[in-house]
Symmetry: C2
Subunit: 154 residues, 2 copies
Amino acid sequence: MNEMKSFELWPIGVIRSPYRESGEIPKGPGAKHDAEGVLELRSELEPGLADIDGFSHLFVVWIFDRSEGYDLTAHPPIDDRPHGVFATRSPRRPNPLGLTVVRLLRREGPRLFVRGVDMLDGTPFVDIKPYLSSVPADELRRGWIDEVETRTRR
Amino acid sequence: MNEMKSFELWPIGVIRSPYRESGEIPKGPGAKHDAEGVLELRSELEPGLADIDGFSHLFVVWIFDRSEGYDLTAHPPIDDRPHGVFATRSPRRPNPLGLTVVRLLRREGPRLFVRGVDMLDGTPFVDIKPYLSSVPADELRRGWIDEVETRTRR
């Protein structure tokens, strides 16, 4: 492959969250992600939020800015077996991108108040996208996650 | 905000899709996204795919590599009214990141055969993540998209 030009991302804002350390973030089967936070967009980008208020849910793409390096095999906290990094949400990925679905509660100018944050306070974000459709629950298989949930429920 | 350090992304592979030009990609209300394609991961990263086979759906984060510059206001093809870029999937965004949910059909080594591609052939991708849960349909509001669908259905 020779199309391997790199790309530069620049933070479009910063996320305010109640979490100061990664140990505080709920993890594992049944973890509730209902923490509230704020997506503080750079004020000069505010016109890009026009009409966003009509969406109940948003994707936020953000940077694991306090993670360094990566491993191809991850050891998720909820399982004692390793998994390929792309089958996990590990921060130690080849590109340190995070992705979270949040519920939009309200907007105040360039600030989006949301529920469902699972990133650290001060995390830079690089994109916001509308959440448009869901995969029906009966079509969803979740590999090792389902398997861990079955195992730990016993 | 002074935390505005930029980040470098490097493509971890290339997407094979049936689409050579953006005009060929289905758009608009009711557009079917059932085109099949292949995520060709760099072979040295293949260990990162361990256990991915158990997931029915994946998120692919990719680069709009044939888009240049951005606008804060987007004019989606399905509507005659402009919208804030973050309320659309426009390629002309501050960071040219694309996000697509695909269905995993099968894996052959570092190649993932998937359904639901909506990117151009040769598009570089930067991350793959497992799709873990859906927002229930009855909790979803889709702002101007719902409004266009209602208008065009008349």
